[in-house]
Amino acid sequence: MMTHTEASELASENPEPQEGLLNRFLNDGRSSWIFVLPGVVLLLLFGLPLLALILRASNKTFLEYALSEQALHALRLSLVTSLVTVVVTVLLGTPLAYLLARWKFRFKSWVELLIDLPVALPPSVAGLALLIAFGRQGTFGPFLSQFGITLPFTSAAVIMAQTFVAAPLYIRAARIGFTEIDYQLEEAAHVEGASPWQLFREVMFPLAGRSLTSGAILTWTRAIGEFGATILFAGNLEGVTQTMPMAIYLGFERSLGVAIALSVMLVGVSTILLLLTRRLDRKH
């Protein structure tokens, strides 16, 4: 495997790339605009709405809305449920990712397909499916109610919806992290008589640590933003199931101020979380 320094030495042997987009645009002449202009259109599409949101929010009433009872309830619920989602995902998803990365077994590609599906599905499908499965009158609802469990309209339903749509991101990242670890390390550990658990705890887990962390952060951002599955499966009640995205959707009709304040807060939270993952990836 090539280390970081070796790689950068290799790169520096190549001719120095021209610095600065503008220089490139001016010096390279004719054809360079083919690469710059289409990108600018997309970047404007990404950037302008966020800019408009922040501009609209930057006035004295922002704090008033951001600190309103509804906004704080939604913020607290979003933070609590998404953190529980991350913990559940890491506890259940890490062993699964480990199996997928290091073991060979039948139907493995089917398991992988099942894990990838929630990412590809529209969240509304996820919400409907959860309701049909675990709702009071759902396929498994009567079974659950034997134990006194009813899920719809509870914070537990919010967490289930978030886990359904967000956990696959962690499992993917963790699987890649575990796959990248050199097999010789595993063999060496075997030779020294390490048990599978020792191998996992002392070798694999620390080595995959960065992938696991950045996967967990990705899952967290996705969970905090979950909307479609939640509104169908968990309903909407302030303090119980009304997360930030839900408060934004309903605030759009009720109080645009709260909706904008919460939106800006979500943009902020997502930016911070993404910066964190980038830092981790770079160190990697």
């Binding site: 309701l131 709702g135 009071r136 309903g235 009640l237 119980v240 009709e253 009720r254």
Partner: protein, 230 residues
Amino acid sequence: MFAAASLTQALEQIGKGFESQHPGVHLTFNFAGSQALRTQIEQGAPADVFAAASSVDMDAVVTAGYADPSAVQPFVTNRLEVILPAGNPAGLSKLQDLARPGLKLVLAAPDVPVGKYSRQALDQMDSAFGAGFAESVLGNVVSEEDNVKQVVAKVQLGEADAGIVYVSDAIAAPDLKTIEIPPQLNVTAQYVIAALKGAHDASLAISFVEYARSPDARSIFAKWGFGPLP
């Protein structure tokens, strides 16, 4: 056509009648909570006609300059009813049962017209059934939905034990059981309709408004449980 969700079945039928009278005209409907439609119109959504379940939302559209005050016409009324899933899992038989602890009740959110009317009706029941009634009923609310059809859906799926909707919604969902709300405790929803200023074809929009107030349309509205104008 932007219309309150409760008008779905009746207006679709009335729209067919209008289309057959105006060959070549095809109506497109956008059904949602009146408060949602109002916001969409205020944000510039292209709409020719707005039919709202509450004058509050129509007033807002008028104030924002999207409709002329003189264009606003009352056209139907509606009343409230309690709906229960077909199996009536909680075994409800009278309005007082709504206060039973642990019941799962779904209402529309307070800013949705039917949600506002439901809370008004509960206040009137409060005086009839004893103080604290409305409070205990509201304590049973497990979800505040975005429009009346979402309330119907949650009850139809059996996820909620009861919901409060319009009489017309109960008629449109015949598989549900109902508990009637007596007139003295009920609330009358006054629907209003208006051709909007930005209408694609202003005269066509006006003729639809007229058609929706015609005897033909009234008999269809009556069939779906809407009441006449007072």
